[in-house]
């Protein structure tokens, strides 16, 4: 994990808020507000955070599916932030994404085989019989039957659809796969199938994953390192074990404490944070979390904490304890 496959620096993405038939801009969503991280070869970086905090936006910016407002994205050392669409096209072979919503990301009017084969066709990697054979292999790899290639997306179950998406992402054998909540809609048994597949593939081919999920257990299972986002910013990033053992940011702590344990005898749920998620259109001043933080101080309302190293490789953005967060 020495060399960085992907390096994201100061990524900012603002969306205009538009309304009306004429799509006039009525405001700005600060979807991603200065995010930096690096991802090594064969590494998995987990990305968690509440819904709407900008995880998907980070994911899509990395692939230049949305144009970042500012910041830099380097893939294998090359700055791809400003490459033209055409210049970018060859790079698409080395990075792929599994979308948050598998059904929506499959064209309802194409067969599963066509969908999975399309990347190969587009890059001219295979045609005719060869293409078909490749697609069949991909199907088998993700645990689908080749005879299902002729089926349309709506004829698959949620988990199968997710696997079609994965097969499509794998077709080009990319070095980086961004997985945006690939398992959120699945029940645990299917979820387990998908996760196992991803881990197997990583072992075999050395893929790197940027893995986004709500389910901390899943993230914990698959990731080497984990980043926690809150309202467009990374508030904490550390090795998995370190993060789960010593969460330093009050939000991370609240997250961990809120995970319901699948054991009726274990302690009952008690919400650790209260209040509502602030809107990314008008983010709170200072530390964005101060509106919900139990430990908020006066200066949290005005001062925005930077992401700083609190311990070996453990970075946190919190003003408590001279910027090292609150140890448990």
């Amino acid at each position: 994990m020495s060399e960085a496959l992907l390096e994201v620096t100061d990524l900012i993405k603002h969306y205009p808020v538009r309304a009306g038939v004429l799509r006039r801009q009525v405001g700005t969503v600060h979807a991603v507000d200065g995010v930096s991280f690096a991802l090594g070869v064969g590494e998995t970086l987990g990305l968690v955070g509440e819904s709407g905090c900008g995880k998907s936006t980070v994911a899509r910016s990395v692939l230049r599916l949305v144009e970042p407002t500012s910041g830099q994205i380097r893939l294998e050392g090359e700055d791809i932030t400003h490459l033209s669409k055409t210049a970018l096209r060859p790079h698409r072979r080395s990075m792929q994404i599994v979308f948050q919503d598998p059904f929506a990301s499959l064209n309802p009017r194409m067969t599963a085989g066509d969908i999975v084969g399309e990347p190969l066709a587009v890059h001219g990697l295979a045609t005719g019989k060869a293409l078909e054979a490749r697609v069949a292999r991909l199907f088998e790899q993700v645990g689908l039957r080749p005879d299902q290639m002729r089926n349309f997306p709506h004829q698959f179950s949620g988990g199968q659809r997710q696997r079609i998406c994965i097969a499509r992402a794998l077709a080009l054998e990319p070095r980086l796969i961004v997985c945006d909540e690939p398992v959120s809609a699945l029940d645990v048994s299917i979820q387990a199938q998908v996760i196992n597949l991803l881990i197997d593939l990583q072992r075999r081919h050395g893929f790197s994953y940027l893995f986004i999920a709500h389910d901390l257990a899943v993230v914990a299972h698959i990731s080497h390192r984990v980043a926690v986002m809150y309202l467009g910013r990374i508030v904490e990033i550390a090795d998995k074990d370190e993060l789960f053992r010593n969460p330093r940011h009050p939000y991370t702590q609240a997250l961990l404490a809120s995970v319901p344990i699948a054991n009726p005898l274990a302690k009952k749920l008690a919400p650790l944070v209260d209040g509502d998620v602030p809107s990314p259109v008008n983010p709170p001043s200072g530390c964005a979390f101060h509106t919900r933080c139990r430990f908020a101080m006066e200066r949290c309302k005005t001062e925005r904490p930077a992401l700083v190293e609190a311990a070996g490789g453990h970075r946190v953005a919190c003003l408590l304890n001279e910027g090292t967060g609150r140890p448990l």
Binding site: A19, G20, V21, L22, R24, Q25, V26
Partner: protein, 315 residues
């Protein structure tokens, strides 16, 4: 909001400018001009006379110059003179506008007040006999040529009452005025109502399957409340769009109805003016229609915001 209106107004002007160019040059592309026609009707031509007349009317000048005369005149409020009647174009156009406006308004009213409720019913009862029946009736509204429907109405009224609703320029009573417009408006409105009904139906079908309709039912709301209070309000935007398009269309598109019912409205006048190549009338009238269309679109956009709180025009 203010900035938005300014922008909107600017775009309207751009559109109107485009239309002025299109209509001006389109008319010039058509062979024959008023002079040709006058001489054709007289069955002879004397080149000198012809040249004189062309000069008198100013149609011998280069097109650009003519265009400039027209547009600069418009900006000064000078609409020119009709070639045929030799009266000021404005004086010819203005009295016809309220006639068409009343007719179109009544037709729209008719179409909305019939089309929307029937559309709702048909959507709610989708797949039932009532739905089939309503759809068939509405389709027949769309499949009758309008001149045919108009003649049918006139013939039937003469045959049954020995009377016919022919246009009366000076209605004495309110009732008479209504009668003058109601029948042609109904003839137009039938088609319009059919269209409105179909749009309402399909839009309602879309909405009726939305989750919040289910929520309303889950609250125990009655069918009427669900259909009209919850669903229709959400389904109304496409309907408004169509009514807006119809409104724009009705201002310039009632040629056949105006002909059959002999209503001295804008559309028939426009056709006559085109036949005579009466450029000042055609150009100004088309500009007027364009203004109406553009404003109809604008009104529709504004209505969107009224009906859907998510839409707010600010800039």
């Amino acid at each position: 909001m203010f900035a938005y209106l300014v922008r909107r107004l600017f775009l309207m002007l751009v559109t109107l400018f485009g239309i002025s160019i299109v209509i001006f040059f389109l008319l010039r592309v058509v062979p024959g001009n008023i002079v040709d026609i006058l001489f054709a009707a007289a069955g002879y031509v004397d080149p000198a006379d012809k040249a004189n007349l062309e000069k008198e009317l100013g149609i011998d000048e280069p097109l650009i110059v003519q265009y400039w005369h027209w547009i600069s005149g418009l900006l000064r409020g000078d609409f020119g003179y009709s070639y045929v009647s030799e009266k000021p174009a404005l004086q010819e156009i203005l009295p016809r506008i309220p006639i068409t406006a009343r007719l179109a308004g009544l037709a729209l009213l008719f179409s909305a007040s019939i089309g929307i409720p029937l559309g709702v019913i048909s959507a709610v009862k989708q797949g039932t006999r009532l739905d089939y029946a309503l759809r068939v009736v509405s389709l027949s509204g769309l499949s009758l040529p309008s001149f045919w429907l108009g003649l049918l109405i006139l013939t039937a009224s003469v045959a049954m009452f020995g009377q016919m609703p022919i246009f009366n320029p000076n209605p004495q009573t309110w009732l008479e005025a209504f009668a003058t417009y109601a029948v042609p408006a109904a003839a137009v409105g039938f088609r319009s109502a059919a269209l409105t009904m179909r749009i309402t139906r399909s839009s309602m079908l879309e909405v009726l399957r939305q989750d919040y309709i289910r929520t309303a039912r889950a609250k125990g709301a009655s069918d009427a409340a669900v259909n009209y209070h919850h669903a229709l309000k959400n389904a109304i935007l496409p309907v408004i769009t169509v009514i807006g398009i119809e409104a724009a269309f009705l201002i310039g598109g009632l040629i056949v109805t105006e002909t059959v019912f002999n209503i001295p409205g804008v559309a028939r006048f426009l056709v006559e003016a085109i036949r005579w190549r009466d450029y000042p009338i055609v150009q100004n009238l088309v500009m007027f229609i364009a203004v109406v269309v553009v404003f109809a679109n604008f009104t529709v956009d504004m209505l969107y915001a009224v009906f859907d709180p998510r839409i707010r025009y600010t800039d």
